[in-house]
Amino acid sequence: MSNPRLSGPSSPRSQPPLRDLLDRHLVIVTGKGGTGKTSVAAALGLRAAARGLRVCVVETGLDEHVPRLVAPDSTPGTPLRPGLESLRIDPYEALAEYLTLQLGVPGLATRVLRNEGFRKLLDAAPGWRELVTLGKVWHLREQGEFDLLLVDAPATGHGLTFLDVPRVVGSAVRAGPLRRHAGWVEEMVRDPQNTVLLPVALAEELPARETAELVTRLREDVGVPVDRVVANAVASPPFPESVADLDVRLGRIDLPASDTRPSSRTLAGCAAHLRSRYELNRAYLEHLREWTALPTIELPLLPEGVTGPADLDLLGRRLLGEAT
């Protein structure tokens, strides 16, 4: 491997073997929209439950995706699989729950939340959604019903905004329970023993750069633990090594289409396209490794996308380095 004396911050360091990803209480899966982080969270949930852990996949988006992905035929309100549940956190509901707990007066929170002025204040106020969402996660952890929480973080902007809110609120609010609670949430998010952030990227320019920035900032100022990144949807070699220049060869011959076969030109077009995509992925995979200086877990591009539990199972095994 590399000479340790030469390894700067951007070159891979020799590292101790990676800790098992599921060996914590909280895994926060983050990534730009379209990187497939929901599938990653669901896949991990599936494998964790198969290992006998009690798992909850927590969704934070407007819609619920996990039940449909994991168990398309499950009845709402029942576990998706033995040991596996999913939950979508609605910020308004989470806020109502929180206020009820704080006020100790049933109904008051609901009345207050129904107040039009308060709704408008909430609509305009940034940050509280992230905070109550993380607060709810904290609460779930405290209740101890699950061994593992897998949070599918919001795709908005940087994953950091989401995780940095407790700190920001902590500094904007001078005293009182809110400040204390924000502190608890912040502690949870930064706990290196029990929490890890799992960035999901694609091996393409924008997601790779953004992931690198995220990791840098995590290291430098936010302090949320991260120990590996996922490169999702990585194309596999389109043709075997022995005919590595297949697209070039096909481009040289001139065979018209027949009833049973596309023309050599069309075949060459397909081969060239798939080869370019493959090479693009390889190049950015290298960049991702170099820029983040973290181990990168590759997940294969599934030609049809994630279509059901079998695909998730495959992805989950790859994520955890289990036999497939």
């Binding site: 730009k32 002025g117 750069r209 022995s242 005919v243 049973t260 076969r261 069309t266």
Partner: protein
């Protein structure tokens, strides 16, 4: 959340316009509009699309400007945005000529600097320097404008309005921040105005409040409850900061309120069109479908749908189905073997396995054909939905390399504006 005074759905308005074609093509955007907004979830190519639209307008001889949010580095370079800049930069004449922009056409680009724009807003609408300083010093403002999510939308809208005042611009193309809550950025101005108008906030704005801890007893019960709840959870300090913040804000609220109204009129007026970008992934299609509905509900004029990254068959030949025919493999293997003999381009003489090569070529093509079919199938409901709404629908093929450069912009522009997808695919083939 429907808007209080929704105009009729834009699709309906277009259908009724006398003489209007049922589908105004994307070229009409460049000709007839002042503002084009690209919308969609993250990672679907909004930024590239926005840049491609602006470039195409410039090539038509218009003076265009594109506001991007988070461009890839090479796209930023291609647009002359090497350094981060909150100010528009015009591309120099020689660069424009290189890009095929005729005399008279212009292209400016800028990257939105969210923090700065919000500060500008405060500077503009503050009645006096003291009020301005109070806002800047307020801990809540510092966090609202800097660290917390949400201010991006206010700033984007503000910047567009400011630019719309410039008479030397024919077209402004706005790339929007990726938003989880579909229309955050459109609703932002209205939300802020709604906030300043609300009774709870009016109470917080009451000058007596800051000094009199229990002073709000005089107000109506609902408001009292809200304030007590906030106080109990956040401590009185927070309410004081909030009150101070809102007070300072109130001082500039008239200007702000007026501005929000103007922005709204601009975005929902006839000079603005929205273009929805989506990708073929299932999640993206679902998101775009909901987005389209929401946009229509708000009265936005959704002119088109651009499907990015569609895996596309490289010729006009029919897509093969099922398994490769063994007989069809034979003549391909023969042709490959002949080629290897002719060129001597084999790993080593006699080492080239033409059978295996033919096999691999057919397998990958059949595999690719099923991906092409899958993307068509998955996007069909969205395309239908958009067409029914009177949108133009264009596909942009998944490009062999990253599109974040000028060449990429060219190709995206060709797919969107060439109008004839077959022509594009012929060009593709010729490459």
């Amino acid at each position: 959340m429907s808007r209080a005074h929704s105009p009729q759905p834009a699709g309906a308005a277009r259908a009724q316009a006398p003489g209007a074609s049922p589908e105004a093509g994307p070229e009409a955007l460049l000709r007839d509009r002042r503002i084009v907004v690209t919308v969609g979830s993250g990672g679907v190519g909004k930024t590239t699309l926005a840049a491609a639209i602006a470039l195409s307008a410039a090539r038509e001889g218009r003076r265009a400007l594109v506001i991007t949010i988070d461009p890839a580095k090479r796209l930023a370079d291609a647009l002359g945005l090497g350094a981060l800049s909150g100010e528009p930069r015009a591309l120099p004449a020689d660069r424009l000529a290189e890009m095929g922009v005729p005399a008279g056409g212009g292209l400016e680009a800028m990257m939105l600097d969210m923090k700065r724009t919000f500060d500008d807003l405060v500077r503009r609408f503050s009645p006096d320097p003291a009020a301005q300083e109070r806002i800047f010093a307020n801990p809540i403002y510092q966090h609202v404008s800097d660290a917390l999510a949400g201010s991006a939308e206010y700033s984007a809208m503000e910047k567009v309005f400011e630019l719309s005042q410039r008479e030397d611009l024919d077209l402004i193309v706005l790339d929007t921040p990726p938003s989880k809550h579909a229309l955050d950025f459109l609703e932002a101005p209205e939300r802020l105005v709604g906030l300043l108008d609300s009774r709870v906030v009016q109470v917080l704005l009451h000058p007596a409040f800051a000094g009199a801890r229990f002073g709000f007893r005089v107000f109506q019960r609902g408001v009292q409850q809200v304030l007590r709840v906030i106080e109990r959870v956040s401590g009185l300090g927070f309410l004081e900061d909030l009150s101070e913040f809102l007070l300072a804000f109130e001082a500039m609220s008239e200007g702000f309120r007026e501005r929000a109204r103007q922005v709204e009129a601009l975005l929902f007026g006839p000079q603005t069109a929205f273009v929805l970008a989506a990708g073929p992934a299932r999640e993206s299609v679902a998101h775009a479908t909901r987005f389209l509905t929401r946009l229509e509900e708000t009265g936005a004029d959704v002119a088109g749908l651009v499907l990015n990254r569609m895996r596309t068959w490289p010729s006009s030949e029919p897509l093969p189905e099922g398994e490769p025919d063994p007989a069809a493999r034979a003549d391909l293997a023969e042709a490959l073997a002949n080629d290897a003999n002719r060129t001597g381009d084999a790993p080593a003489a006699g080492d080239f396995d033409a059978e295996a090569a033919a096999d691999a070529a057919l397998t990958l093509a059949y595999g690719y054909a099923s991906m092409v079919r899958r993307d068509e199938r998955e996007t069909a409901p969205l395309r239908d939905r958009a067409q029914r709404a009177g949108c133009f629908v264009r596909r942009v093929a998944e490009l062999p390399r990253d599109v974040h450069d000028l060449e990429g912009l060219d190709r995206v522009a060709a797919y969107v504006f060439a109008g004839d997808p077959e022509r594009v695919s012929d060009e593709e083939r010729a490459r």
